[in-house]
């Protein structure tokens, strides 16, 4: 006959076993005197422990405990004052939450949200949100979208250089070193900017490719 382990008997004594396990161990304990005796010991220990936890130590001095806690709090505050001597911080920490402090906190939060939006949110999403807000505000939709927004990558060649646009975002890729700029596009998907470099006197022709 195989006896259950100590942990199983301990759990059985505390009534913490699952249904099937409890049936199996209980069946064994009812027939095995050794295991039954051990299970009873575990149960007795458990009951003693629960009774002990309900009582506080007799020697506990509430007055002394309160004094120690107050002293620790004061030491902590003093230490905080020692490590924060910077004038600006001191001034900042003394702001009134209902005045400048609250304003600064809101401004900081707004800045963080705006920064996060600018860094992570695609421009097209921003535009869509703006259009949706515009529609809600005015009660009618915005003006028609330019056709080119349907295409993926758009190359623009203009007097300011060459720009690549995608998902509503644009970026300048060639910034000319000359005022006299000749630009053109090729339908194979490239834009060209031609200018005379002011330093070398050479004609530079820069191409940017959409793909």
């Amino acid at each position: 006959m195989r006896h259950p382990g100590e942990s199983e008997l301990s759990l059985f004594a505390g009534g913490e076993l699952g249904f099937l396990e409890r049936l199996r161990i209980g069946r064994h304990v009812s027939h095995c005197a050794t295991c039954r005796a051990q299970s009873d010991l575990f149960r007795a220990d458990r009951e003693r422990l629960q009774v002990g936890l309900g009582k506080l130590p007799d020697e506990l001095d509430w007055r002394r405990l309160a004094q120690e806690m107050t002293a620790n709090i004061r030491v902590g505050l003093e230490a905080g004052e020692c490590v924060g001597p910077v004038r600006g911080i001191h001034h900042l920490t003394s702001w009134n939450l209902n005045g400048w402090g609250l304003g600064a906190m809101i401004a900081g939060l707004c800045m963080l949200v705006a920064l996060g939006w600018w860094m992570r949110m695609p421009y097209s999403d921003t535009q869509s949100l703006a259009h949706a807000l515009h529609t809600v505000w005015t009660g009618h939709g915005p003006s028609a979208e330019p056709l080119s927004s349907d295409h993926g990558v758009i190359l623009e060649a203009g007097t300011g250089g060459i720009e690549v646009k995608q998902n509503g975002q644009s970026m300048t890729f060639v910034s000319p070193r000359s005022e006299a700029l000749t630009v053109s596009v090729s339908l194979q998907g490239s834009a060209q900017a031609s200018y005379v470099d002011s330093d070398t006197g050479q004609v530079n022709i820069a191409n940017v490719y959409a793909q």
Binding site: L97, M111, W118, I154, V164, S175, L187, Q188, A206
Partner: protein, 376 residues
Amino acid sequence: MRSRAGQFAFCLAISSALALSAQTLGLQVVPRIDLPKDSPVALISADWGGSTASARGGAMIVDLHAALSLRNSTAKRVRGITLTVVAQEVTPGGKGSLSIPCLDVGPGEAFPVRLDMRLLRPLQAGGGLPAQIGLDGVLFDDLSFYGPDHLNSRHTMTVWEMEARRDRRYYKALLEKSGPTVLQNQILAVLAREPERLQVGMEVARGPATNVEPGGHDLQFAFLRFPDSPVEPSDGIAQVAGNEAREPRMDVRNRSDRPIRYLEIGWILQDQRGRDFLAGSVPARVTLAPGQRSQVHQDAAVKFPGRPGQALSITGMTGFVNNVEFSDGAVWIPSRAEIQSAGLESILGPSPEEQRLVQIYRRKGLQALIAELKKF
């Protein structure tokens, strides 16, 4: 409670400012220059001062500002060079090129290359150099070419060299026939045309659009016909909607006695006020035997960029043969007489060589221009 709120606000402001600085300030970069072992040009020096890479959103912006010095290591004179500048092959805006036509660099001579370009690469692209510079091709004075030619540089640089020879011949003949004053007046006329030439900018997008603008319609091309052109265009249409024209297609016929492998059709758009704008070029690789017909088609769109208060709409289109490459590599370009008679001077703008000559006149005067023309 109050002090904690103040500290919190202060920390937020500081961390926001730090994050903003980290995004804005770029790190200095030194791109790699890959020249083939048998390259006809050698790198003497490279100054990358001011070249930076900075993160913006999910992309890295690579700002290149370089001053390179290259040497012609062949026995031939270099007429032009094209360098590839690649931050990321597959990212839109990740690949560019810099060409310098109209050079005259003798054997063993050095020449400068100034590079000012911005490219994009994804932040997730991982390690490696932020940009690589390579050689796409070098054109020599005998019109021979060296290089992998991934960007069709051979054709493009040959066209520029042919235009340069044509324009130098024209100005030299003008000088010899009519004297310096007439040459000067002609250069001043080019300068005067610059502000007149309408450069409103143009957008190009590859691939089909996903929707169709209401009111879009097919518009017929009118063609300028050059008597010497080896290609005759006819029956061209494009879909036009407002300020956008897409999917140009036209029939072309080889009327020369030589096979043709490449051609470019210039595309001019007219707005509602009758003004002409050069929209761009429609290039096409073709196989056209003498007398054979074919159709040129590009699945792309061009558009006048929208400007506040400038509602441009396309009311007419004109096409002309810009250049043709025969199967033996020879290139045809229209003559100056053909360009003048077609009234294209003010629309096309100056050729690269004409830009260079005008710049010499502006900075150094008439005598320097005459001396430059006499070099060739």
